[in-house]
């Protein structure tokens, strides 16, 4: 509705005709350069890594901000693996494992859940932004959920801005 000709008269009378776009059509986003967060993802081999592969074979698009490290189980994510990238300036860490009850190793994800909850509480307590750490259960058949999670996390971190640790030399 930017063209004043459209607003003035109905097009059936107006000449020359204007190319009016209905107001309900979304306008294209502005092409400003955006902050591109870096996400390090630790994915369990059996569920989430395979789910990420399925997103690939299904050609489901998601932002390239995630960089995946394959581990055998979410239960083998050492807190150091999360702390190191955060202190080095990665903007987010994603831990992906099997849904409760589905762990290939019976209970690795239950242990990961406690460990991650403890870690996030410690980070919060230590004044480090723990919302940059995400734990998600994504199964081998949830390619779409994996893509959605990465998209959501990228948007979340983009909103949040760069990890201050990236430029904090004294850490």
């Amino acid at each position: 509705m930017s063209d004043p000709a459209c607003e003035a008269k109905p097009a059936c009378e107006a000449k020359p005709a204007c190319e009016a776009k209905p107001a309900y059509e979304a306008k294209p986003a502005s092409p400003e350069p955006r902050f591109e967060p870096k996400i390090v993802a630790f994915l369990c081999n059996w569920c989430t890594y395979t789910g990420a592969d399925l997103a690939g074979t299904s050609r489901i698009q998601y932002p390239p901000n995630v960089r995946i490290i394959r581990l055998m189980c979410s239960g083998s994510v050492d807190p150091t693996y999360v702390l190191k990238p955060l202190l080095d300036g990665a903007d987010g860490v994603l831990i992906g494992g099997c849904h409760p009850g589905d762990c290939h190793y019976q209970s690795g994800n239950y242990k990961a859940r406690r460990r991650t909850i403890a870690l996030k509480e410690i980070l919060r307590g230590a004044g480090i932004d723990e919302t940059r750490v995400w734990l998600r259960w994504i199964s081998a058949s949830e390619g779409q959920r994996f893509a959605d999670t990465v998209t959501e996390m990228t948007e979340f971190l983009r909103e949040k801005g760069p990890n201050p640790m990236r430029t904090e030399w004294a850490v």
Binding site: C6, E7, A11, C12, A14, K15, A17, A20, A23, Y24
Partner: protein
């Protein structure tokens, strides 16, 4: 003509030319309109002469083609776009141009004065003033004593057409009787634009969406209820009214009955009239396009003394009355055969004495057809709202 662009924009490349669209098209059986071949033209022949296709004005926008397409192509949208080409060039049937100008100037297709938009509420001025006040007060948060929870969008035909005005009155009366107090926009209400869009006038539609959208949002109501399935459909799908529940009145009435807020006295107590047999005609914009099949039937079945019988073509197979998509203002290329004629015959064959509808357009086209077919002794056409009002436990009964 920007055929290539349209083909891409409407994703016509998905079409496999199976013909399910034309096969199900109610007007294809009586005119030369063939949406499948139109799509085929778009795919293979970039130089289509739109002016040679006057049958484009025959489409009723019933959207049966859209609902049934196995490849998620939306054939009716092509017709709307091609009509848009004609509208852009100013090549529209005269009657249609008049309707569009009426909407542009007075906010209604009959071109009646805007200030007369409240005449429908004759005899209910008190209710109307209260309703208007409610909607206006709600806009001004500082003085709001009552919140406008529910907004009633009357619509153009119910506002101005003397045959439909009682439907709007019945609706307001029924809601008040059930303890609901809807607000209305009074003379500030303008055409929803549903048929404007379907007639191809995207520019005017955009304008209406912007103006109406702003007005509707400013009231801050949580629910919006309409008389017409056409207004309901466009508000629900084409306005982006986030946070507002858009309802057709049949949904709300069915809900009130379900919650026990609306009850009917046994027929013996209310009136001594004979038992009625009713058949129900599914409006395309309510049924096929919004899958609201059960609520109207639930209402009819709740009315004591009414017996509901079904036509063979019902629900997903209901036959279009030919009143939508701007067809109220354009005759189309085949004047002799009217789908409404067929439809009232089908209704009469059920043995019903009443043909119930839930759409102002259907009411007008089918009632007209009943008269032309000489069935008026046998069959009367009534809106569900009128039936509810007539049989309802309301303190004041009209007529």
């Amino acid at each position: 003509m920007k055929t290539q662009k349209l083909t891409e924009q409407l994703e016509l490349f998905g079409c496999i030319q199976c013909g399910k669209c034309t096969g199900g098209c109610p007007v294809a059986r009586k005119t030369t309109l063939n949406i499948r071949t139109l799509i085929y033209h778009m795919l293979v022949d970039p130089s289509m002469d739109v002016d040679a296709h006057q049958e484009l004005w025959d489409c009723t926008a019933c959207f049966t083609c859209v609902e049934r397409c196995p490849k998620d192509v939306e054939p009716a949208e092509l017709i709307i776009s091609l009509r848009g080409e004609l509208v852009e060039g100013g090549r529209v049937p005269e009657t249609l141009g008049t309707a569009l100008m009426g909407i542009f100037r007075q906010g209604n297709p009959s071109g009646m004065a805007r200030q007369d938009r409240e005449l429908w509420a004759a005899g209910m001025e008190e209710s109307l003033e209260r309703a208007k006040g409610l909607a206006t007060r709600a806009r001004d948060a500082s003085s709001a004593q009552e919140e406008c929870e529910l907004l009633y969008f009357v619509g153009c035909i119910p506002s101005y057409d003397p045959r439909i005005q009682p439907v709007a009155r019945a609706l307001l009366r029924t809601f008040e009787g059930a303890g609901l107090h809807p607000g209305t926009l009074g003379t500030r209400e303008s055409c929803c634009g549903s048929e404007v869009r379907r007639m191809g006038e995207a520019g005017l539609f955009g304008m209406l969406v912007e103006e109406n959208g702003e007005l509707l949002r400013s009231v801050g109501a949580r629910q919006l209820v309409t008389t017409s399935p056409h207004c309901f459909n466009t508000f629900r799908k084409e306005y982006g009214l986030d946070g507002m529940e858009v309802l057709h009145y049949t949904q709300l009435v069915a809900r009130l009955i379900d919650e026990g807020k609306l009850t009917f006295p046994e027929p013996s107590e209310a009136r001594q009239e004979e038992h009625r047999t009713v058949t129900y005609h599914d409006p395309c914009f309510l049924g096929k396009q919004n899958q609201i099949y059960d609520e109207p039937r639930a209402i009819l079945e709740a009315i004591p003394g009414l017996k509901l019988v079904e036509m063979d073509r019902r629900r997903e197979r209901s036959l279009c009355c030919e009143g939508g998509g701007g067809r109220m203002w354009v005759e189309g290329t085949n004047l002799q055969e009217r789908l409404a004629f067929q439809r009232v015959q089908e209704a009469a064959e059920t043995g019903a004495d009443t043909l119930a509808v839930a759409c102002p357009f259907c009411l007008l086209t089918l009632e007209d057809a009943v008269k032309v077919q000489g069935l008026d002794e046998q069959l009367r056409v009534m809106d569900i709202m009128e039936l509810v009002d007539a049989c309802g436990a309301m303190p004041h009964v009209e007529r």
